[in-house]
Symmetry: C2
């Protein structure tokens, strides 16, 4: 079962009715490798209203089906959350491109921090900023 199907099923279980616009948002998120901003989604789905995009993202976030990523700058990114796949992001400060990375050592370090802190840590965000390969070349 792919993510879109899974997400729609969860929405149904959570008592939401099925609507065409919400499904379009889910399918777009399903087809995308990394994070999209709400306005990108709005732009790519001509027939879907802005309010619906934000509403749907909230609902999906509430069900832990998508994750909000604070990529810095103006807008937040949203990407689907596959239960078995956890990654973080490199953001190019030049062109804005996002690319994912995984690091076991990083996860362990975060787990250790959360274990020894007073906080009940529920989620974490790691964003590395810099210049991507193609932008570095362009400037060279």
């Amino acid at each position: 079962m792919d993510w879109a199907e899974h997400a729609l099923q969860r929405l149904d279980e959570a008592g939401f009715r099925s609507g065409g616009s919400r499904r379009q948002v889910v399918e777009l998120l399903a087809s995308e490798g990394c994070a999209l901003t709400a306005l990108e989604i709005d732009k790519r789905l001509e027939s879907v209203g802005r309010a619906t995009v934000y509403r749907t993202l909230d609902q999906l976030e509430g069900l832990h089906l998508v994750q909000r990523v604070e990529i810095g700058g103006d807008a937040a990114g949203y990407e689907r959350l596959d239960s078995d796949e956890h990654h973080h992001h490199l953001v190019c400060e030049d062109c804005g491109r996002l690319s994912p990375f995984v690091s076991e050592a990083l996860e362990k370090a975060i787990a250790a921090v959360s274990r020894r802190s007073e906080f009940a840590v529920a989620a974490h965000d790691v964003v590395l900023r810099g210049t991507c390969a193609s932008c570095s070349e362009r400037h060279a």
Copy 2:
């Protein structure tokens, strides 16, 4: 030498002229323990224009005298950066309180990622979200 003095000296060395508004922003940041948003600063400094607040924060960030913290939600936070002290943040999703933490293992993991990626990593942001001790208690 305290941070305000140090920051003003750096600004001077960087070729900025000394102006009263910029100094007020620096002094407010110096007096504050953790991050402030730009609009909080603007509100607290009656006589300083919004544009000046943002400009000053940019300049200070460029000189690595303050750090922008993506605390999630609407506005970004800014806090002074003491050169010998590098930390990250735990954000309470309930009351919004920020508290700092340091982790050597985390820094090493990030360095390793940046070494093996195509990105020239210039900065990084780690934010752990959860519930702080006092909010956990309150809900218990």
